[in-house]
């Protein structure tokens, strides 16, 4: 063959190496050259030539890409409505499609349209937008009904028939159809909630979180969508994997206990395993990505900026204390703890000097106690003064 570069040109891995390199593919070609040292020059030369120019053509703008997706889901919705039948796959798909597209294109932007009445936009770096009238947790059903749960520590129970039990007393039926529909539970700052899903999986939702889930699990997997932090006790069912989807990663389990923290404003998505085993997959997983498998008392920290996952040995109990209203910390930056306290009490705390953020503190907090006591305790362990500016604003002084 005259064209002796054929074998590279015909190899998608080569073209990808030149234009969309990643550590795995770099490694592949490093190994390749080690095995074929005689080709090194040719490969390097071809690569350097190829890289000189890049092809850019008319492409879809991110807005156009979202716009098309929205049209698609709107049309699907119209078609579904004309059949007067809500479809589990559809309502989740619509949310998931749009959310994923936003997540990929614009950092983390969540766009949720639920039955034409509630639109939530959650921009990267911003706090979760909770409807202003909803002081307590909010249960949004597939029909667009908003149910306020009065207690700050509420519980929601789904029976196998799709009935919902709120705070162990009020019972209502979701739908007459026995098909599962999507519900979402929105937990504002200053609240926590526990939900028992139809498969008996228990989920504790921390302040400022949102969980989207079907009222019954159809299909081959059990899937839920999480924004924020939750602790899962997944009911065992080896035939139906349980999958927690977040903005950037998904966690697959069969039956186990673990904590996931995936707040939009945090740069890390942390998964801590208490019992059993879980697999973590990047949403942008490809043939080169390795699955991360966690063992008990390990924490996987996925970085949204580098797309890399770090593994650490931790004490899982520490990461689940919040479900009991406790917060324990050992040599942690002061501002990290304050962030959690802010979420829990729905307050905002500023620092008069940036240096104060990095004070390392250790201790244990009982968040069920009075807010003033908690702040006093924090003053003590950090050696600072926390001044109240108004009902919800505080400042940390030396």
């Amino acid at each position: 063959m005259v064209f002796n570069e054929q074998k590279y040109i015909e190899n998608p891995l080569f073209i990808d190496w030149v234009f969309c390199p990643n550590p795995a593919i770099d490694k592949y070609w490093e190994d390749y050259i080690l095995k074929h040292p005689d080709e090194e020059l040719q490969v390097a030369e071809l690569k350097s030539r190829l890289i000189e120019l890049k092809y850019a053509d008319d492409s879809l703008t991110p807005e156009e890409k979202i716009e098309i997706a929205e049209h698609v889901v709107d049309r699907i919705e119209m078609a579904e409505e004309s059949r007067k039948r809500r479809n589990l796959v559809f309502s989740f798909m619509k949310y998931a499609a749009v959310a994923l597209i936003f997540a990929v294109i614009g950092g983390l932007v969540v766009y949720l349209k639920s039955d034409n009445q509630a639109i939530y936009k959650q921009m990267a770096g911003q706090l979760v937008q909770i409807p202003s009238e909803g002081k307590g947790p909010l249960l949004i059903t597939s029909t667009g009904e908003n149910l306020k749960l009065r207690k700050t520590n509420s519980s929601v129970d789904y029976t196998h028939k799709g009935n919902v039990v709120l705070n162990n007393d009020s019972v209502f039926k979701t739908q007459d159809e026995d098909e599962g529909v999507m519900n979402q539970l929105v937990i504002p700052y200053g609240n926590q909630s526990k939900v028992t899903l139809a498969d008996n999986t228990n989920v504790w939702l921390n302040a400022g979180s949102r969980l989207i889930y079907p009222t019954t699990f159809k299909g081959k997997t059990r899937e839920v969508l999480l924004f924020g932090e939750a602790y899962f006790e997944v009911a065992k069912n080896a035939e139906k994997p349980f999958i927690v989807k977040t903005s950037d990663i998904q966690i697959r389990v069969l039956g186990t206990q673990f904590n996931v923290s995936a707040y939009a404003e945090d740069k890390l998505i942390q998964t801590v395993l208490k019992e059993g085993s879980v697999e973590i997959l990047d949403n942008a997983a490809n043939i080169f990505s390795r699955k991360v498998v966690l063992k008990p008392n390990q924490m996987a920290s996925f970085s949204k900026t580098t797309n890399e996952t770090a593994l650490d040995e931790v004490d899982a109990n520490y990461y689940t204390l919040w479900t009991k209203g406790l917060l324990s910390f050992d040599d942690i930056d002061f501002d990290k703890i304050l962030k959690k306290v802010e979420r829990f009490y729905n307050i905002s705390v500023d620092f008069s000097e940036p240096g104060l953020r990095a004070i390392r503190i250790s201790g244990k907090l009982d968040l069920k106690g009075a807010r003033s006591e908690v702040l006093e305790y924090l003053e003590k362990v950090s050696g600072t003064k926390i001044k109240k500016l108004n009902e919800n604003q505080f400042i940390v002084n030396k």
Binding site: D16, R49, L53, Y55, H71, V72, M93, T221, I287
Partner: protein, 196 residues
């Protein structure tokens, strides 16, 4: 990084089984390259967007069965092309235009310009643009499908209406021809142009 066809077959199967995320995965992956392809068939941006919208709507709405799920990418490209051509023809009948635009396959390039070497890069790109105009639209389309998608020669043949062997021959003949006319370097550059 592009998933290979067996992986897309898996994604497709998951979608058919009701996996809510598989559909958006497919959209997320292919919307851009489908657009890049469509916009070369017609410069009517809105029309290409409409066709992509219809394509994905139909996939969802009619829960399309693929004979072989491995052909997902092929199905997407062929359907998009057919739909664009059908829409252009309908349109041109109404507005009495010729269907010259149908196989325009206009490749537009834009160099990634280096600050210190801007001028020579621009010259080079302009030269390349001219050279590409000497290649027939059909050959340009084949080069695009070869280098910008994961399609194989059989599938490309289906889309452009030729046998797989003929496509492969044409691709290599075009590349060899260009190399003979313009040297090795140009050929390498060309392959880039077709890459997303």
């Amino acid at each position: 990084m592009i998933k290979d066809r067996t992986q897309w077959a898996e994604v497709w199967k998951r979608f058919r089984l009701g996996d809510r995320f598989a559909f958006s995965e497919i959209y997320e992956e292919f919307a851009d390259v489908l657009f890049a392809y469509g916009i070369k068939i017609t410069s009517d941006r809105e029309l290409v967007k409409d066709c992509i919208q219809d394509l994905f709507y139909n996939i969802y709405r009619y829960n399309i069965k693929l004979q072989k799920p491995e052909y997902l990418e092929f199905y997407l490209f062929r359907s998009l092309k057919n739909d664009i051509i059908r829409k252009i023809k309908n349109h041109s009948q109404q507005s009495s235009l010729t269907d010259d635009n149908v196989t325009l396959f206009d490749l537009k390039f834009q160099a990634e310009l280096d600050n210190h070497d801007k001028e020579s890069e621009e010259l080079r790109v302009n030269a390349l643009q001219k050279i590409l105009q000497t290649i027939s639209p059909q050959k340009r389309e084949m080069l695009f499908l070869k280098f910008s998608t994961g399609l194989n020669y059989i599938e490309i043949g289906e889309i452009v209406g030729m046998s797989a062997d003929a496509v492969k021959k044409q691709v290599y003949r075009t590349l060899d021809d260009l190399r003979n006319r313009f040297g090795e370097k140009l050929l390498s550059l060309l392959t880039i142009f077709f890459k997303r």
